[in-house]
Amino acid sequence: MKQSSCLIKFAVLLCTLFVSNSFAAASTQEEVLRSSAEPGKPGGKLVITQRSEPRTFNPVPAADQTSMGIIDRLNADLIHINRATQKTEPSLAKSWTMSKDGTQFVVKLRKGIKFSDGAPFDADDVVFSFTAYLDEKVPSVHRDLLLVDDKPVKVEKVDAYTVRFTFPGPYAPAERAFDSLAILPRHLLENDYKDGKLGQMWGLNTQPDKIAGLGPFRLKQVVPGERIVLERNPYYWKVDAKNQKLPYIDELTFLIVPNQDAQVVRFQAGDAHIVSGLSGDNYAALEPEQASRHFKLYDAGPGLEYNYLMFNLNDDVTSRLPELARKQKWFNDVLFRQAVSLAIDRAGIVRLAFRGRGVALATHVTPGNKLWFNSNVTAPARSLPKARQLLQAAGFSQKQNGMLTDASGQPVEFTILVSSSNAQRAQMATLVQDDLKQLGMNVHVVTMEQRATIDRVVKSHDYEAVIMGLASGDADPTPDMNVLMSNGSTHLWHMGEKSPATPWEAEIDRIMQKQQVTLNHQQRKKLYDRIQEIEAEQLPMIYLASPNILVGAREDLGNFQPAVIEQYTFWNAEEFFWRTPAGNH
């Protein structure tokens, strides 16, 4: 009796589901996005190695690259930056218009598309997502990018498929700010948001079916510490030129392999199909095996990572560390920094640390940043005589035994701190040490474990000089304001400045603020060119070199197109397909 009623209920449910579904399809045509990539064949599995386990599947608090790499596959944004062209392109937004003064954005959304759990998507989801991102009570890492002069953008629903964004003032990178801002499913998260729990939702132990997004894949399985498995999202809204639904790949697995050498071995053995972040050395070691092991290596050219030597210019250490305060008299002298920069053999660094697969740098903008790189500012060629001249002009002199002494007769001696976890940076330190010995500077290199290094630079400020690397988040100048602005949170050489400590830092502040509100690209480029000139002259950091993005993939993986912005290798995973019959992988 009970069973039959159950059955009937089930049939009715099925029926209504069917009716409503066909109804929806009839009422709103699905406005798909057509991909221009080469059409492929569906099927197969793909395995990618990742350095660490993701911390969360929640787009709101996620800040680390591993989490974002997976979250970006599960979700979609309104306007997307194409990693290959570095330009913006439509995503969930079908089109958008900007008002003349650059403050208003009206975004038309795609109609008839669905989340990965089958629920429909509309303007309410967009408004909900941005309300959450902008809410100060929510631990959102994206809030900063949506503020202009500390005032948030206003988001209003115009109709079911139109949203209006009003910025408090003109905001040049507005389009780009939408990239990777995942649109959240209101139907799943609204209650948690109201309860103030949004930041804690969607951890690694959440049931996969409780997580939904608009991305090409959806979560299937989590094996803690080992792997994350995603499956094809059947509701995804992109199609290829032959009208086939994307993605082609049935299953996408992220294998957690913490160490790069181990990643190389897994890739070589065929356990993983893609490897990224190869060092020049490992690239060279894998190169001869390409044909016999059926993989292909790619050199995508310089990325956005810049490695630099930085002197400690913090002024809060004077009483605490008198020895350092004494040495800061040298470090604060721009002639001293210029001399150090001129003495460094950048070509040698590129050759020995990157095996020639990298470029010497003059500023933090690498040639990999196609739209913003100032080609008139070039990395200085090594010149010891010029460096000695500068030192002499700054009051230093070289003794009989070769030691360099300052005006008061003290020998020039300092320590370069470097993290032991990055072999290339440790190598740079040894090369720089030897280069500066030629000027008579007695440089010591101290390697320390990664976290201890960062703690000293960011918290205790107890270091003299350090070799580190940073990677710009986007090609656009605005995300770099954190580093460049004197009050920026990662203004590493001199943290927590209340007002610019030097005239050139004041000038950088002024120009960076101006570029943010300048809408004309050419004018902005001019401003950013000036920033690069100041950097190359004043050397707040002594920029050394940038490694090329070196990656590898199985040779029969179609549409594999490595880029120089994160995620280097799988930013277009929905377009990947296997050229060989599916099931081999």
Binding site: A285, D345, R355, D434, H444, V445, T447, M448
Partner: protein, 351 residues
């Protein structure tokens, strides 16, 4: 009747002792005189020759002619290649002996520039190849021995002395002394040394003179490992205390310290010697970990530990076998220490 084999054994023991001790003394001397024996300075970089394979001294030239004086060929990097080198048969450079070259300091006091052998600057005599900066591995191996051989030895002695004192006193006195000492050893063993070292590092100044760094390495390794020998010594002393001759001596009024010195400590010698042979190579490797944490010897000064640390990288492991030579050098050192301890043990037993 038993005299003959005994004598044989003793003779063999002594000769083994002489052999092992002799080898170790030579090795340590080679490390001390590294400046003279090594053709290059340990820090001299040649950026045009990274990962150059070992250069062989020849007696026969490319066309098959014999030469009385050994010579090397000038090696040139193959075109367009990062680390592939070829002998240039047209450029023969003879090996010279007692030549002037890079300056060095002997025992921190005497400056010199005389080297046992070398070649003119156009060629390179890198007997064990070069590392990623084009530095001569052979020279670095010799200089690195100064740190590794002596730090291992000193740290082993330190840990055994501390172990002997703590374990001996605990075993001989018993009671609350024993209890306290053993609880302290347990605490020492339970403290995660890795984090302890990280904490210690945070309190030390960033920059240390090489001599201070060396002392720190010895103390860090020695004090970190005294607990195990201490427990071993205590066990032997505890059981020895109940032996008849010890009880007899005590009956005659011998004091604790007399018993410890005369009867109990000698019982532990064979164990300590074996421990020593095991600990020294272990401590040479422990130095690698310390260098990793920034506690050990820093670049550019070499130690076998930090030289071996490079070989952890995959590309070096598969491509440049000569980067593993510091590891190979460890093998005879370990064998010699084992032979030495065995020989001394046999000698002690035969008394």
């Amino acid at each position: 009747m038993t005299n003959e084999p005994m004598r044989n054994l003793r003779r063999m023991g002594i000769s083994k002792l002489a052999w092992a001790a002799g080898f170790l003394v030579l090795l340590h001397l080679a490390a001390i005189f590294a400046g003279f024996l090594a053709p290059y300075d340990y820090a001299a970089q040649d950026r045009s020759r990274p990962y150059a394979p070992p250069v062989r001294p020849h007696l026969v030239d490319c066309s098959g002619n014999w030469h009385l004086r050994p010579f090397v060929y000038v090696t040139t990097a193959r075109e367009g290649n990062f680390n592939s080198y070829a002998d240039d048969c047209t450029q023969r450079v003879p090996v010279s002996f007692f030549v002037r070259g890079d300056e060095y300091t002997f025992l921190g006091l005497i400056h010199g520039s005389l080297h046992l052998f070398g070649v003119a600057e156009s060629a390179h005599i890198s007997l064990m190849g070069t590392d990623g900066y084009g530095r001569d591995q052979f020279s670095r191996l010799l200089f690195g021995g100064q740190v590794s051989l002596f730090a291992g030895l000193a740290a082993a002695l330190l840990s055994l002395i501390v172990g002997l004192v703590v374990g001996g006193v605990a075993g001989a006195f018993g009671g609350w002394v024993d209890e306290t000492a053993m609880r302290i050893t347990e605490i020492t063993m339970a403290v995660p040394s890795f984090y302890l070292l990280l904490t210690v590092r945070a309190f030390l100044p960033l920059q240390m003179e090489p001599a201070a760094a060396f002392g720190l390495v010895v103390v860090a390794i020695g004090f970190w490992n005294w607990a195990r020998p201490a427990r071993m010594v205590r066990g032997i002393v505890l059981s020895g205390r109940e032996r008849n001759f010890v009880l007899a001596a005590r009956g005659f009024g011998a004091t604790h310290f007399y018993l410890l010195r005369r009867h109990l400590a000698p019982m532990t010698f064979s164990v300590l010697l074996t421990q020593m042979a095991i600990l020294i190579p272990q401590f040479i490797l422990a130095e690698v970990i310390l260098s990793f944490l920034g506690l050990g010897i820093g670049e550019p000064f070499p130690s076998w530990g930090n030289m071996l640390a490079y070989a952890q990288q995959y590309h070096i492991l598969v491509n440049y076998w000569w980067m593993l030579l510091p590891g190979v050098a460890l093998v005879p050192v370990i064998l010699a220490y084992h032979a030495l301890s065995e020989a001394v043990q046999e000698k002690l037993q035969s008394f």
